[in-house]
Every structure is written in C-alpha cells, then in structure tokens.
Symmetry: C2
C-alpha cells in the first residue's frame, strides 16, 4: 500500500498520524488493549484481511508500539503486547473514544463503557492541562513555534505564520 | 479511493477512525485549528495534492466537522470553519500531539508548543477521568459492554469476551 510519509512533517500530530493515522492500526491497538493478543483473535474480531492485519502488526512493531512475544515453541506461537510507547497511546485513544461516544454513538448510546479503577466509577476521558488541570478546549489554547520546528512542507504555518 | 467502512463497527474508536483515521484528515483539522481556513492556504501548508485535499474537506464537511462558508461573492470564495463537533475533536488531537511530542519529537524537541489561556503557561495535554480527575492510563481502566454494543464484526470482543 502506498502511504504518504507524514513523518517528514515537523509536527507531532503528523508524526502520530504517520503511525496511527489509519483505521486498522487504531483498531489493532484497541484490540490489544482490550485483551486480544494473538493474530487469529484479532483477525476474527476485526474481520480484517490477513495481509492487512499482518502489515499493521509489522508496522506497529517496527514503530515500537508493539512487541512480538513467543509464548509457545514447537511450533512457535506468537502474541503481540503493547510496549510502554504503545500503552502510552491508550489515553489518546480514550479521548478519541469519548469524542466518538459524544458524536457518533446515536440513540443506542456508547458501545463500550470505561471503568476507572482509581475511583471505581464508569467514566469518560477528558483532556486537561497538565499545569492547571482545567479542561482544554479549542478556544483556550494557542500555539507557538517549538524548538523542533523548522521550515518544511506541512510546517509553513508553524515556522512562519504564527 | 477505496475506504474500509469502519463506521459499521459498533465501537466509538472505529467510528472516530472512519472519520479521522487518516493522516490527511487529521492534518486538515489541525491546520484549520491553527488558523488556516482557505483551500489554497491549507494546500500550500501541507503540500497535499488538490484532489486529496478536496476529498478530505468534502468528507469532513459531510461528517459534520467542518462547514463551508462563503466569505466573498463575485467570484464566490469559500473558507472552512470547524463546527462544534469539529472543535470538540481538538482536545483528542492535543492528546495525540502530546504523545507525538513524547515519543517522536527526537532530540530537537516539540515542533510546536501549546499555550493555555486559563493558566497562562506553556503546557501539554493530559487525559484524565471526568469523575475523579486522575490521569487515565492503560492499566487503570477496563471496559464493559455499553448500551450501544452489539454482536457484529469488530465487536465480538465487546459483545462476548469481556
């Protein structure tokens, strides 16, 4: 599959998109988070073509989100586990899930509920400021060039227009 | 472009992926958030092919994230604005940006810094529990079938295995 190389764009959203800006990749990470670890389990759950699943598992492993772990020998059998980098993506997926619950769930309501161990409640993710703890919204933030910004395609804005 | 219809999967991550699980769509929303509203501006910033940009703008408009607004007549000129639904996606993008900053920025550091008006600090997004305010992590949540769950491809897990 021809893929655009978003990683060349000096933007952390673009770099994230290069890795997970693809529906199947997101759903593979979701399935592994939910407890499915083996190729066959994920394939059956998603109903995804084996070559597509194979490609996404390989790519997510190469990008450091998954590790392939042999759990049985003769014959060798493997499972996929989230790395620290992969596990660290889960909160962003939960933020995406909360958005989907608000805007796409329809009259039936959310397909999946999240239970939080810390407070022992059914809850939803919210995106907050690490400094003050207030909820972040599109209107309460603005953006400034960071140390890793540079003039390149996809960053004209970051480098020059702000 | 042939696209998988993720929206048939009864999962809010899948439904979100159906809309924004695509690098260009994410970057278009990013550009509009950052203040670029016109086709030419976004095209120039991203260096994206015009047919691809056209497709993404149309799809994001059809999905209710953008609205096309005529800002000049004779000749008609249009700009794209985020709707309430589109603006509500921004926090999830900020969570994705924070992940990209942590894992993909490299030695140069983040390309873009976020400034929060409420506390007047450079900050980053964190994903927290709406009930107790603690940070959510992959290990502190589990999932249960919700009212909108059903047995269908992509939801075997939600419907049966939990």
């Amino acid at each position: 599959m021809a893929r655009t190389d978003f990683s060349r764009i000096a933007c952390s959203i673009a770099r994230s998109a290069a890795i997970v800006g693809d529906g199947w990749a997101l759903l593979v990470v979701r399935d592994i988070t939910l407890g499915l670890h083996r190729f066959d389990e994920i394939q059956r759950d998603l109903g995804v073509a084996t070559n597509v699943l194979s490609d996404r598992l390989q790519r997510l492993t190469a990008c450091g989100l998954l590790e392939k772990h042999r759990y049985e020998q003769h014959p060798d059998r493997y499972e996929y586990l989230l790395t620290e980098k992969g596990r660290d993506l889960v909160p962003a997926l939960l933020a995406l899930m909360a958005w989907g619950d608000r805007w796409e769930a329809g009259p039936d309501g959310p397909p999946l509920l999240m239970h939080h161990h810390d407070c022992d409640h059914t809850t939803e993710a919210t995106v907050t400021c690490r400094r003050c703890g207030h909820e972040l919204t599109a209107d309460t933030v603005d953006y400034r060039p960071g140390p890793g910004g540079r003039t390149a395609p996809g960053t004209a804005l970051i480098a020059g227009l702000l």
